[in-house]
């Protein structure tokens, strides 16, 4: 321990006595660590953001679209059967068409979605004011509409539009609710200028009386796989065991796929960055070899007054390790700055260094320092004291 502390002091002395050279030696490690940490953090930050966007669309949601109804189309009544399944909490139909909507002289192209009350919870929507479509609206085919924040803004120029009327597809709708502004970039992009109306109204306007798309939510948020299985069985039964009649999408399977993609990407980019760390290690070895040769006389003196091979080895090994770790520390600082800057530039996505990334960088740098320090340190330790003393550098 004593010896180790002394070696540490000697190594620090050697590193600080030639700062410029030490810095240049570290540069490879600095760049390597920065590349590693920044790339891994960018990928995980970006994929984390995308995953949370998708999750915000409803991670426990299952989407079924009917491709071929085989003459036995789904009706609203069938949804009650689906919702009655143990694994399913709720189910809502969704039919949509695009049309232009008018308010006074203002005209906007909107996406009209016909659905039922259950849609609100399944999609995790939030109201800013008013109410969503009710079951009675659907039963009575009431001409009421709920607008997304963006739709209200574009069409009316303001968000508090309860009681106003808008016309689309030749009909006049009473605005009964306005949704809260989407803070998720992706959700607002996907929903666009959305106008929600009772399913029955939309069905008659679009001339498609049957249910072709069903949104369902899993009863257990962690049991989407079970819900998917139950839904699949129900649909198979409904469509004479024909798996091609419908398509089933589980949102959590999308996030799973995304996770695996980002995992692969992290591994790939991390691997590339690790190669640059290896190059940094070669740089350390190179300079350490020069340093060992330059300090041959010093090694000779130390050996003459009683330094063993072990203590010479320890001294140079610690020096290589410290160079690598200092490089790592600088690299982490630089990465932090870059990630902060990236967060500011990206706006909505925040990039942070995870603890595991830091541990990975420190661990890898230590390993590099030790592995590439081994050869020079061993070379120093094996020098013959007489020849080393005679050396004139």
């Amino acid at each position: 321990m004593m010896m180790f502390l002394q070696s540490l002091r000697m190594a620090l002395g050697a590193i600080f006595s030639s700062k410029m050279r030490s810095f240049l030696t570290m540069l490879g490690i600095i760049i390597g660590v920065t590349a590693l940490v920044v790339m891994v953090s960018l990928v995980s930050g970006a994929s984390g953001a995308v995953t949370s966007e998708i999750t915000s669309l409803g991670n426990d949601m299952i989407l079924v679209s009917v491709r071929d109804d085989k003459g036995n189309p789904l009706r609203l009544a069938d949804l009650e059967g689906i919702a009655a399944l143990e694994e399913i909490s709720e189910a809502a139909p969704a039919g949509s068409f695009n049309a232009s909507a008018k308010y006074s002289y203002n005209e906007e192209y909107v996406s009209v979605t016909g659905t039922t009350a259950a849609y609100y919870t399944i999609r995790g929507l939030t109201l800013a004011s008013g109410r969503f479509i009710r079951t009675t609206d659907v039963d009575n085919s009431a001409y009421v509409a709920v607008l997304s924040h963006d739709a209200a803004q574009e069409l009316f120029g303001r968000a508090d539009v309860l009681g106003e009327r808008l016309s689309t597809g030749g009909r006049s709708f009473l605005v009964v609710g306005v949704l809260a502004e989407e803070n998720s970039m992706m959700a607002s992009m996907m929903s666009g200028l959305a106008v929600y109306v009772p399913f029955t109204v939309e069905a008659s306007m679009a001339g498609e009386p049957y249910v072709t798309t069903v949104y369902a939510s899993s009863a257990d948020p962690d049991g989407t796989a079970d819900a998917e299985t139950a839904m699949n069985q129900y649909m198979l039964k409904r469509f004479d065991q024909d798996a091609d009649a419908f398509q089933l999408i589980n949102m959590s399977s999308i996030t799973d796929a995304l996770d695996s993609v980002s995992g692969t990407l992290t591994l790939l980019l991390g691997g590339i960055a690790a190669i640059s760390l290896l190059v940094g290690g070669v740089g350390i070895m190179n300079i350490m070899l020069v340093s060992v040769t330059e300090r041959t006389k010093e090694i000779g003196i130390r050996k003459a007054i009683g330094a063993s091979r072990g203590s010479i080895m320890t001294q140079f090994l610690i020096e290589a390790l410290l160079l690598s770790l200092f490089g790592c520390a600088f690299g982490l600082m630089l990465s932090w700055l870059i990630l902060e800057a990236a967060t500011i530039i990206a706006g909505s996505i925040s990039f942070t260094m995870s603890l595991s990334t830091v541990v990975l960088a420190v661990g890898f740098s230590s390993a590099i320092g030790l592995i590439f320090g081994m050869y020079p340190a061993n070379k120093a330790a094996r020098k013959h004291p007489i020849e080393a003393l005679r050396y004139d550098g």
Partner: protein
């Protein structure tokens, strides 16, 4: 063993052969030598006589090919590299012609260095370094680096470094070789004082005028050692 004291150095039949360009060079040829405790012995011989080889073997920087060498009661020839390092650290105090101080360290740190390799604690190291520097009269220069010291002062630091471990022998290799005659005389006076204080000193030189300042002289010629009458 003239004065009856136990021998610190006892060499018999020491032979060391180097191979230079396929040719055999007998640097030491059945050399024998004895140094008793408290003696001040000079080994004198021209260059090429084998005195560097002798000094390397006495100093445990090298081992002989054959013969016996007992240093302070320990048979050295069978020792491993690691054990030799330990012997150098504890039993030998080197003083070199070119001082061989570490340029980046202060006088005090240079004197401490062998004590560090002994694993001594800071307080004891500081105390022993201080005492050693005091003995060579350099207490006021302890914070200076070698470059800030004169040649004579540097050699005194080297002597202090050699003394700090209380070694069995002080082994000086041409200690005045890089100094002017006045400073050289100062260093020799220091050695005499150390001898009077009871240190065993082996001084290796080619200079007869230096050699006679020792208590006893040993001549070396063509790898053979003979006592001076």
């Amino acid at each position: 063993m003239e004065n009856g004291a136990a021998p610190v150095i006892s060499m018999q039949d020491i032979t060391k052969i180097y191979h230079v360009g396929g040719e055999e060079v007998r640097a030491l040829d059945h050399a024998a030598m004895r140094v008793a405790e408290g003696e001040f012995v000079s080994v004198v011989g021209p260059s090429g006589s084998g005195k560097s080889t002798l000094m390397n073997i006495i100093g445990c920087l090298d081992v002989a090919d054959s013969g016996t060498y007992v240093l302070d009661g320990q048979d050295i020839l069978q020792y491993s590299e690691r054990q030799l390092a330990r012997i150098r650290n504890r039993k030998i105090g080197f003083v070199f012609q070119s001082f061989n101080l570490l340029a980046k360290m202060t006088a005090e740190e240079n004197v401490e260095l062998p004590l560090i390799y002994q694993g001594l604690h800071l307080t004891e190291r500081k105390e022993r370094a201080r005492l050693a520097l005091e003995r060579v009269g350099l207490t006021d220069r302890s914070r200076h680096r070698p470059a800030e010291l004169s040649g004579g002062q540097q050699q005194r630091v080297a002597v202090a470094r050699a003394l700090a471990t209380n070694p069995a022998i002080l082994l000086a290799d041409e200690p005045t070789g890089n100094l002017d005659s006045k400073t050289g005389a100062d260093i020799m006076r220091l050695f005499r004082e150390l001898h009077e204080a009871g240190n065993t000193i082996v001084l290796i030189t080619h200079d007869e005028r230096i050699a006679v300042l020792a208590q006893r002289s040993v001549r070396i010629m063509d790898g053979r050692v003979e006592e001076d009458a």
